[in-house]
């Protein structure tokens, strides 16, 4: 029985580890400035935790086999209540490992979340509602116009869905779209809102996730570094249509972005 346990535990350990090392399924390719740092720390954590995982499982398998009851040929059981020195050593080692890992990653967290977006960042307001994402650009005046919940008309989509108050001067040049278009290599400031329940704005390739909470306007930022189309998901359970609350992020060159925005402005006139 000891040998069977050893074989099964080791097989499970090595098979699981193989798929991690072979990266058969792995993080989607990163396309934002933060991705490299985050992925690097991911790998560091994987290596350290992987060593602990394999060491613990291999020891477990080995110990149950070596110290199985062999009847009269078993060696004598050691009568011991433990070893305080060893306890202190492994307590210190795990503390250093866990707290150290944490401190290593804290600078990335700080740059992602502690500092506000740069002044010249491209600002996009993202609003989640059951079950769609809307994106609003402030237009040439750089100001988002007022919205009014009483004006909301969800079925009409676009500006009406957001309840844009057209009487407000600042709202005249606001552009509302169903696809998020941003220029490459520019910092994007995202202002996250939700109308009804909590949603979560998740762009896997940008290593970006943040809940959109009704009643809050959450300011976040990310910098896409590769042009292309990327899928946007909702990551927080928001109701029956959660699985299809899907959007697209188009990262384009600055020129294309300017052209696209100008065309949307022109449509409004």
């Amino acid at each position: 029985m000891g040998l069977v346990l050893l074989i099964i535990i080791w097989l499970i350990t090595f098979a699981s580890t193989y798929f991690f090392i072979a990266k058969t399924w792995w993080l989607p390719t990163g396309a934002s400035a933060a991705a490299a740092g985050i992925d690097h720390h991911f790998t560091t954590t994987f290596i350290l935790m992987g060593i602990v995982f394999v060491a613990a499982q291999v020891s477990l398998g080995a110990l149950v086999w070596i110290y199985r009851d062999r009847g009269s040929s078993s060696s004598k059981v050691t009568y011991s209540h433990g070893n305080t020195k060893l306890e202190i050593v492994w307590t210190l080692l795990t503390t250093i490992l866990f707290v150290g890992l944490n401190l290593m990653s804290s600078s990335i967290w700080a740059s992602e979340r502690f500092r506000p977006a740069e002044v010249d960042a491209v600002r996009v307001e993202v609003t989640g509602m059951q079950f769609a994402w809307y994106f609003r650009y402030p237009g040439p005046d750089g100001k988002f116009g007022a919205t009014n919940p009483e004006l909301e008309d969800a079925s009409a989509g676009g500006e009406a869905a957001l309840g844009l108050d057209t009487k407000d001067g600042a709202s005249k040049d606001d552009v509302v779209t169903g696809t998020m278009v941003v220029p490459v290599n520019r910092e994007i400031e995202v202002i996250l809102r939700a109308h009804d329940v909590i949603h979560s704005f998740f762009i896997p390739t940008m290593r970006f996730k943040q809940d959109a909470v009704p009643g809050l306007a959450i300011h976040m930022h990310f910098t896409p570094i590769q042009t292309g189309d990327y899928e946007i998901l909702c990551a927080e359970l928001c109701g029956l249509g959660h699985y299809k609350m899907h959007g697209m992020l188009k990262v384009v060159s600055q020129e294309e972005f300017d052209k696209w925005l100008a065309a949307r402005e022109a449509e409004k006139q």
Binding site: L5, T24, W25, I38, F53, G82, L233, H242
Partner: protein, 581 residues
């Protein structure tokens, strides 16, 4: 202290009941109440498992009509998710290890004739059962059971108009949890008082079996956590029915104003997780105690580092209340707070690691007997390591950005708090069955059950890590709407097939349990040659546990292979083996 303890014991003794109803239904006997809790959890676990099976089937065959449910709509899937989680967490993982085994064995292991408050004990069971009935009733009301997940995040859970199931079903869901909390609070008071006041002479705190330490600390966690959840549940009910706005700011549903304003959705999350994280330890601590106990018994060796184990349990309990914010890194909570919660969470890994080291240390230089409870204890260690190792990923906010709300999270918590705890329950069942029913369980069925469960668990939950890393979100009823998820569907299929096999394996357990109750081999009073007090009394124990005498304790709980002793174990009630030990 000793005089006081005896006084406490005598005042709680009560005569054995005669009629069927007082003996088996409205019983004051902690052993019967323990069995009642156990069978409640057994019923609940099969309901919960059936729901998970339906989920697995729907995920890979989305158009297939299911038994009892017919065509599965997206909201039906979310109902399954919600009820599976809620039933498993409350009525299985909290009910069986603590209400079931804790009730049955805590008094016996400390040498007491019953719990401190037998009537309260009876009430706590019947309250819990009522909670379960109300929970199941949610399936049958108009609109069905709620779809807001076991965490019930507001505002989704706070208004009727947010989706199907959010009407009466959601009210019943909250009321059921509130009822459960009341039962759990009564139970917690009883466990704490009993442990502190009812110990037999010589049963000092540092001679308590680690199972008792685990139940004791679990009860303290319950006392502090369930009160908060109860209050939060009442506030949520008021938001839903009385027009208050504790958790709901100004929101519109489908463009319509709801009349709410000024509330905070994050407040619900703080209150919920202030309960929710300690709840994880409420589920796992008894299993840890069980595992420590069994590794010592079946390695025929004292537990490695008894004191360190006690401090680790206390440390986990204490730190368990300071880490709830790690569920909220992406919630909009201050990122500075996230940093603090992250450090505390990594800190809680330390006592968990100490326990693992000590378990391995216990096996080393032992003489391991591969009985069925021991197999599950070894399985527990393996699952605890595998589930624990993904903790430091989720505990670091930077990595949680990608992993939060993906399959990586269910992979993590199912291994560590779900199945590891269940392994604790299985181990306890195989171990204590002879004491409870006077018969042994069938060993070969038990072994098959172990292999199905152990390999099956890994086959189900290890691939969920890969899904999570690849970015597959949780709680998606269909995986066809997002292009990059298509490539991951084969892995989902594999998980569903594995779930079929694993669940089939659980039927072996069910058959073994009931077959052995009537047909199992007669058990002796101490079939495992163990040392704690339950093995000194008759099988099954008499009404007052020790047949009119009160045991006196002279030794620690894990004295195996003591040099010079006549047998390879020294019972707690045997003459003292010497001050050096």
């Amino acid at each position: 202290m000793a005089t006081h303890e005896f006084a406490a014991q005598e005042s709680h003794a009560h005569a054995a009941p005669q009629g069927f109803v007082r003996k088996w239904v409205f019983s004051l006997d902690h052993k019967v109440i323990g069995l009642q809790y156990y069978f409640l959890a057994l019923a609940a676990v099969f309901v919960g498992m059936f729901l998970s099976l339906l989920m697995r089937i729907h995920l890979i065959w989305p158009t297939l009509p299911l038994p009892l449910l017919g065509d599965i709509k997206p909201e039906t899937y979310l109902t399954l998710v919600t009820m599976h989680g809620t039933i498993m967490v409350f009525f299985v993982l909290t009910t069986a290890p603590q209400g079931g085994f804790g009730n049955y064995f805590l008094p016996i292991q400390i040498g007491a004739p019953d719990m401190a408050f037998p009537v309260l004990n009876m009430l706590s069971f019947w309250t819990t059962l009522l909670g379960f009935i109300v929970m199941i009733a949610a399936f049958f009301v108009a609109g069905g059971a709620p779809l807001h997940g076991w965490t019930g995040y507001a505002p989704l859970s706070a208004m009727q108009s947010t989706g199907p199931g959010e009407g009466l079903g959601a009210d019943l869901w909250i009321i059921s949890i509130a009822i459960f909390c009341i039962g759990a609070l009564m139970g917690a008071l009883n466990f704490i008082t009993t442990t502190l006041d009812m110990r037999a002479k010589g049963m000092t705190m540092m001679r308590l079996p680690l199972t008792v330490w685990a139940w004791f600390v679990t009860a303290i966690l319950g006392l502090l956590a369930f009160g908060v959840l109860l209050s939060a549940g009442i506030l949520l009910l008021m938001d839903r029915n009385l027009g208050t706005s504790f958790f709901v700011p100004l929101v519109t549903i489908n463009g319509q104003l709801t009349g709410h304003k000024g509330g905070s959705p994050l407040l619900w999350q703080h209150l919920f997780w202030f309960f929710g994280h300690p709840e994880v330890y409420i589920a796992i601590l008894p299993a840890m105690g069980m595992c420590s106990q069994l590794l010592s018994v079946f390695s025929r060796k004292p537990i490695f580092g008894y004191k360190a184990m006690v401090y680790a349990i206390l440390g986990i309990g204490f730190l368990g209340f300071m880490v709830w914010g790690h569920h909220m890194f992406m919630s909009g909570m201050s990122p500075y707070t996230a940093f603090a919660f992250s450090i505390m969470t990594m800190g809680i890994g330390v006592p968990s690691a100490i326990k693992t080291f000590n378990w391995l240390g216990t096996l080393m230089r032992g003489r391991i007997r591969f009985t069925s409870p021991m197999l599950f204890a070894i399985g527990f260690v393996s699952l605890f390591v595998s589930g624990g190792i993904s903790g430091p990923f989720l505990a670091q906010p930077v990595l949680d950005i990608q992993l939060h709300d993906t399959y990586f999270v269910p992979a993590h918590f199912h291994l560590i708090m779900g199945v590891a705890s269940i392994f604790g329950i299985f181990a306890a069942t195989y171990y204590w069955f002879p004491k409870m029913f006077g018969r042994m369980m069938n060993e070969s069925m038990a072994r098959w059950h172990f292999w199905f469960s152990f390999i099956g668990t890994y086959a189900i939950f290890m691939p969920m890590h890969y899904l999570g890393m690849a970015g597959m979100p949780r709680r998606y009823s269909q995986l066809t709407e997002v292009t990059y998820l298509h490539g991951l569907i084969p892995l989902q299929k594999f998980i569903t097939y594995a779930a079929f096999v694993t669940i089939a394996g659980q039927l072996i357990f069910l058959v073994n349990l009931f077959w052995s109750m009537f047909k199992g081999k007669q058990a002796s009073d101490n079939p495992w040659e163990a040392t704690t007090l339950e093995w000194t009394t008759a099988t099954p124990p008499p009404h007052d546990n020790f047949g009119g005498h009160t045991p006196v304790v002279h030794n620690g709980p894990y004295e195996y292979n003591v040099p010079g002793a006549p047998r390879d174990y020294v019972m707690q009630s045997d003459p003292e083996i010497g001050p050096a030990h």
